[in-house]
């Protein structure tokens, strides 16, 4: 009966209900907006108070340092090519840290993803445990592991590498597992019906399906890890970040080195972003062709 009466309700009742609904939505939206603006404004004021230099005082000076650095580098422009050569070993080290940690992290992530995906897991009872482990690995900022490892292992690239790999394993593991959840289980069933073991089912039934997506995520992570490896060098040791820190500490007189490192870092990041973007495009295109 209720179903019968509903369409017969007078039009103005519906209109009133609709308008009331819209008003309520607008009010909620408005309250959220006011709340957001209040949070931004008070946050800005608070951050401004706790900063050594104020925002409005600093704003006119924002180009002072860049212009000082560039003008000094301009005078010594002839030295720049030699500096590029000088810093290229540490640049290569930074890229190597990113590459190795992405590789090791991705390998760990594959294992973690496979044991924490429903329908694929080797030990279904432990899925929750492995997921929490990945959450913990993801939550651990690289700087924490890197600084503790520097205390134990001394300087050099290895602490940064382990730190980034650890975080990468957690971050990629989650993404990999989301991809694997959508994998078609028919090949896996087919393989198990002919007596394949767990490793064989994964290697032959799951990995070929998910590999393009996984590689694509891995490349994206590589872009992120190059930046992370540069910044860890600055805070800890190893790679071009460390050279940058030394040059910055020296200050005036070494700004040509600062500029050289800035240029190298910028060029490297853009270069690898482009390559990885191109490869990821090809992977996603190849995949859609395969499905279409």
């Amino acid at each position: 009966m209720a179903d019968m009466t509903a369409p017969m309700a007078p039009v103005d009742t519906i209109a009133r209900a609709y308008l009331a609904d819209v008003r309520r939505k607008r009010m909620y939206g408005g309250i959220l907006l006011v709340l957001f603006i209040a949070m931004m404004a008070s946050g800005f004021r608070l951050a401004n108070e706790r900063n050594a230099g104020g925002f409005w005082d600093g704003l006119p000076q924002i180009f002072d340092f860049p212009s000082e650095v560039v003008s000094e580098a301009w005078e010594k422009a002839a030295l720049l090519p030699a500096l590029f050569v000088k810093f290229s070993p540490s640049l290569i080290e930074t890229v190597n840290i990113a590459a190795v940690s992405t590789m090791i992290g991705a390998l760990l992530a594959v294992l973690l993803a496979l044991v924490s995906t429903r329908g694929l897991a080797r030990w279904p009872a432990l899925i929750g445990l492995f997921r929490r482990a990945m959450d913990g690995m993801r939550a651990m900022p690289e700087i924490v592991i890197a600084l503790v490892l520097i205390y134990i292992l001394g300087g050099g690239p290895v602490p940064a590498m382990i730190a980034i790999a650890f975080h990468t394993a957690g971050a990629l593991g989650k993404l990999f597992s989301e991809v694997a959840e959508n994998a078609d289980l028919k090949p896996v069933e087919g393989l198990s019906s002919v007596g394949a073991g767990w490793l064989q089912r994964m290697w032959l039934g799951v990995i070929p399906q998910v590999a393009p997506n996984w590689i694509s995520y891995g490349l994206l992570r590589f872009e992120i890890n190059i930046r992370a490896s540069a910044i860890l060098g600055f805070v800890g040791s190893g790679g071009i970040g460390y050279d940058l820190k030394l040059a910055m500490q020296w200050g005036q007189g070494r700004y040509d080195q600062v500029v050289a490192i800035f240029i190298l870092l910028f060029a490297t990041i853009v270069f690898f972003d482009q390559i990885s973007g191109y490869l990821r495009n090809r992977l996603s295109k190849g995949q859609s062709n395969g499905h279409g």
Binding site: A47, Y151, V158
Partner: protein
């Protein structure tokens, strides 16, 4: 049959070629990876790592994570004996209120290390009694430290020279030099975590604290016991809980201001970079190059440049995140704008809406969910970045962490900060997930 074989031959040949190629890639990829890893093994000097690694530091780290040490020190010049947790001024026991395992009488100090291990300081002598071994005697004579052991031999857990003798046992450590005699006792836990020694609440059990808070007489007549306790905890000089909470808050503030600020700046710029909203190719290309440039320069360089202009502090960190993410958001937002459904905008336009109204009712409802989920994802990831950036600009928990690590002694504080950082990131993760499901509904 012969005909069929002839027709099959090219197909078979192709198939075999494909198999060969696949097998080759299947072998060459691992070989290349292995070769690269070998090169890294040599380039990073992983073999030499074993010799450089300081495993004794691991021991220090692990034991500090779950235990603390108390120093009993006798100044051999003045003869004063002091008992201090971690040897710090802030943790020094006031005279007459020593822990129950240290007792003093007539110039003699008796230290009970547990399990029958005892150390007695008397004048310029120290005697360490071990239950199954005997008495190790240390004395200062003629400016030299003299060691006597029960059997005359020096076991490997005693490190002896003319100027310094160190005895290490499972129960503690005794070191003796010309200027001072010192005993370390290790105990489990993070001492003084709640109240420092000078606080009236130190050393009380939870039940007696609860009783004091609920119906006990006021310790300080001016305020309630509970308020006093909270303030004593908040201003704890050893652990500085108040400062730590502020630092955590500063880190979250940096991430919040930076992420939201970047989204606010990037949204209008993204319209300029989207093909279907900006017909001027020059503007579009210029905007995109700006996004690429800002992203390429990267947070590290922005942080350095900005900290020169704004000085150390959370504002600088927030601005560094803001600038870097403006590039990323601009790129992602403009891609989202290029993928909007034109029909909806046309529909709104057909009712006579102007361009602002078309954007409000035709475009925003389509892109808001995508933008929000990206912004919230970045909010969580920027909490982690803010920890690192804080270490560079000198703000937030990143600064406290690096300071505690650089001093290389307060590892229990380091572990405290690490636990808090992980909890903070996990909390931000759940918060952003919760907000996402509240604001745009569960999808996928």
């Amino acid at each position: 049959m012969a005909m069929a074989n002839l027709e099959m031959a090219p197909v078979q040949r192709d198939m075999l070629a494909i198999f060969r190629r696949k097998r080759l890639t299947a072998i060459s990829v691992p070989v290349v990876i292995f070769a690269y890893l070998t090169y890294i093994f040599i380039a990073f000097d992983v073999a030499g790592l074993a010799s450089r690694a300081r495993m004794d530091n691991v021991g220090v780290l692990l034991s500090d994570f779950w235990s603390y040490k108390t120093h009993v020190t006798r100044d051999n010049r003045s003869g004063d004996v002091s008992v201090a947790i971690e040897g710090e001024n802030k943790g020094t026991y006031p005279a007459g209120k020593l822990p129950d395992w240290v007792s003093q009488s007539e110039g003699q100090t008796l230290i009970d290390l547990g399990q029958g291990h005892r150390v007695v300081f008397q004048g310029l002598r120290a005697d360490y009694t071990l239950p199954d071994y005997g008495v190790i005697g240390l004395a200062l004579a003629g400016g030299k430290v003299q060691l006597t052991t029960p059997d005359g031999a020096v076991p490997d857990w005693i490190n002896a020279s003319d100027t310094r003798v160190t005895v290490k046992t499972a129960q503690g450590r005794l070191s003796f030099t010309r200027s001072r005699t010192e005993v370390f006792r290790y105990q489990a836990g993070w001492e003084l975590f709640f109240f420092t020694l000078d606080s009236p609440f130190h050393g009380k059990s939870i039940t007696s604290l609860a009783a004091m808070a609920l119906w006990g007489d006021r310790v300080d007549p001016l305020r309630s016991n509970l308020g006093y306790m909270v303030s004593e905890f908040w201003t704890n000089k050893m652990w500085r809980h108040g400062d730590v909470v502020w630092a955590l808050f500063e880190t979250v503030l940096m991430a919040f201001l930076g992420t939201m600020g970047a989204a606010i700046v990037a949204l209008p710029l993204a319209f300029l970079a989207a093909r279907n909203f900006t017909s001027f190719g020059v503007v579009r290309q210029a905007m995109r190059r700006v996004f690429d440039f800002v992203r390429g320069v990267d947070g590290l360089i922005w942080t350095i440049i900005l900290s020169r202009a704004f000085g150390p502090g959370p504002m600088t960190g927030a601005l560094a995140i803001l600038v870097t993410d403006t590039g990323s958001f601009g790129k992602m937002f403009s891609e989202a704008l290029e993928n909007v459904d034109e029909r909806q905008i046309e529909g709104v336009g057909s009712t006579g809406a102007n361009s602002l109204q078309r954007a409000r009712f035709g475009v925003f409802p389509q892109i808001i969910p995508i933008l929000l989920s990206q912004v919230l994802y970045y909010l969580e990831s920027n909490t982690r970045s803010a920890t690192v950036i804080g270490a560079i600009v000198g703000g937030g928990i990143g600064l406290l962490l690096t300071q505690a690590i650089i001093t290389q002694k307060d590892w229990e504080e380091v572990s405290y900060y690490i636990v808090l950082i992980i909890l903070m990131v996990m909390a931000m993760d759940s918060l952003s997930g919760w907000l996402r499901s509240k604001l745009i509904g569960k999808r996928g």
